[in-house]
Amino acid sequence: MRDSAPLLRLTGISKSFPGVRALDGVDLTVGKGEVVALIGENGAGKSTLMKILNGIYQPDAGEIALNGAPVSFPDPHAALAHGVSMVHQEPKLCLALSVTENVLIGHLPRGRFGAIDWKRAHERTRTLLRRVGLAMEPTTPAERLSIAERQLLQIAKALASESALIVLDEPTASLTPVEVDLLFGIVRDLQAAGVSFIYISHHLEEILRIAQRVSVLKDGRKVADRLVSETGKEEMLSLMVGRSLGDRFPAKDRRAGAVALEVQGLSGRGFADISFRVHRGEVVGIAGLVGAGRTELARAIFGADPLEGGSILVNGQPARIRNPADAIALGIAYIAEDRRDGLFMPLPVKENITCVTPEAVASAGVIRESSQRRIALDYIKRLNIRTPSPEQQIRFLSGGNQQKCILARWIIKGVQTIIFDEPTRGIDVGAKTEIYRLIDQLAREGKSVILISSELPEILGMSDRVLVMERGRLSGEVDGHDATEENLLALALPANPSSHELQP
């Protein structure tokens, strides 16, 4: 940007949520026809920043300027009207409708009497499809498209609204290498035609291939802005991480005991041939990229989704788990990835805490409200849950406190094995530390903990052993003391892209 203003300039963008400062004075510029990569760990603030750019969130402070003129995006429509489009990782399409309707939604051409001029609509769609390298009939229902085609369709949709800036959020997460090449070709063509891109990805090789500049976010701040040609992969990694883990995590001098849970050759939807053991007193981390099959595996072990093969042994005995109730009876708990899957929002805290332990609060099916209240108060105190009373509806608690209520549930139940799926997602730093201490305490009491997390520092800081999953399979196991972000990432990323078969 020499004389003229850049296409997009974000200045001093800040955004706080209750208890979390998600963004703190972030600057970002994108020039015309430039591809800028935005990288950072999960929770660094990338998605918050993009939601502000798309009018989903309003910044607390800071300015958005397009071509030098300040603008505000009160809603996604406003962003779109100013030529800013977002291509989501999981395309948001109306699957039952045709390609034309999906591409031109909102501005289908009108003919006489305001009726839709289908002939013109299909022609226009055909032109747009050609620009993104798609060759299907405009009348094809969107549900017949592959994931890759749906991504490209979203780009066509962005072009239809004459977008000058397109945000690509992990666009290659479910693409084959050939499809990635195709996508990059199209990005380059559009770039030559003056379209700018913000490219969000964990795949650093892709960034080296496609982006001109890279901006790095860490803990809500922008820590670097480099030319890709002058920056190596290692440097990007160290810019993203480079944080002292020291005092955030409890010491790892736990002692593992007998095997509590063993799975052999487990297969199901999204994962195959998984075998591992978890001992008493041990925290086993499961790392991997989003979509590697970790949640699917956990849900299947817990009986929430069906298993297709393999066996589960609990304390050395073969176990039959058909539903969550079976798993709970065998002393296995699962704390869901999406906290809302574990909460009864309109119900009081005390019921949310005691809902899995009717045996502790009821006799002959009749609830003793005094014991229910007493147990709830006890755990509210022990776990330092911030609530005005046990009668408070849980929806009024902060995310961290809600998570502690869910954990309290399983501690009261006295389960042996707890599977945590992204236990600290979206909760503030202080509550995170408390959750880590609780997990450590559980392990020290001889419980077995499986910790699924996309935050590598969390995996490194908490795990005695780390299992890594890649595309539904175990790609390796690393001792907790030897694990580094680099060796875990190496196992989590598709090792040799060309060896993967193409999707049908």
Binding site: P18, G19, F302, A304, N323, P324, A325, A327, I328, A329, Y334, A336, R340, D341, G342, L343, F344, M345, P346, L347, E351, C355, V356, T357, P358, A360, A362, G365, V366, I367, K381, R382, L383, N384, R386, T387, P388, Q392, Q393, F396, L397, S398, G400, N401, R409, I411, I412, K413, G414, D428, V429, G430, A431, T433, E434, R437, L438, Q441, L442, E445
Partner: protein, 335 residues
Amino acid sequence: MTEPSQPMAAPATGPAAPQSAPAGRSVNWTGYLVQYSNVLALIVILLVASALSPYFFSSRNIFNVLRGATMVGIVAVGMTYVILNRGIDLSVGSLVGLSAALTASFADQGILVAAAIGLASGLFLGLVNGLMITVLRLQPFIATLGMMIFARGLVFVYTGGSNIAVEQPSDAFTLLGSGYVGPVPVPVVVFIAIWALAAWVLRYTVFGRSIYAVGANEEAARLSGIDADRNKVLVYCISGVLAAFAGVVMASRLTVGEPNGGTLFELDAIAAVLIGGTTFDGGVGSVHGTVLGILILAFLSNVLNLLNISPYSQMLLKGVIIVLAVVVSEWRKRK
């Protein structure tokens, strides 16, 4: 139950949870107004009524109104369970009619046998509703719409389209619908008993709390080891049995089984549940609210009758009230 060996102390961090109750010392009048709007509505109706007619507060009039409300009231108690469970039961009106027809036609076997047959029909068809919803994974609206039409068809086929009159009904047969305990009609006493039992089950039993849990978040209930399908089937069985019981009361009161008996009961019951503050989102509401809703609807039409307003015009007002009630319960949720 294993407990951690030592208290889990943790650093105090994070903001305090926001309060849901009206904060501060000043009384939040709008808050209370919204919270107790349906109680207020009932009081206003009663005041207006007593000003309009000296006859209104006679025990005769009051008990007549209450007795008239019991049949829909019993159905509405079952409907409360269903809606709390995040479902809907459109078949109840037809189940009332079927049970009434069966009870009337078996009257010569004695009230107990006749009532048992009526109740069994409701239990069985309620079970079928539950199984359609859990096993076939049909939406409750669709499953019970089908049942509504099917069961009404059964009534017409069974009665041949004409009334089944009870020949010389015994005192035992008419007791449930037309008897008195002192000045209080028997159906009113029975309704109060059903209300109390239903409210107790909802509040104090694991089953009752599971109805709320499944209604609030079915996936979370499943992940907590609650058998959500079993819970739903039971709820539709209860709704079916209560509808059938209303049919027994109807047969006993009218000593006749009418092919159209119970028609539109489902809508009155749903209206009472909504006016009572139970929401379609599941997990929020109570039987007490529903009873309030029943009383509001019953006394409102009593007042309008006293004012000589035609039943047709009354429908206009009822429609407005139902929509208003839902708007208010949305406000209540946001408080």
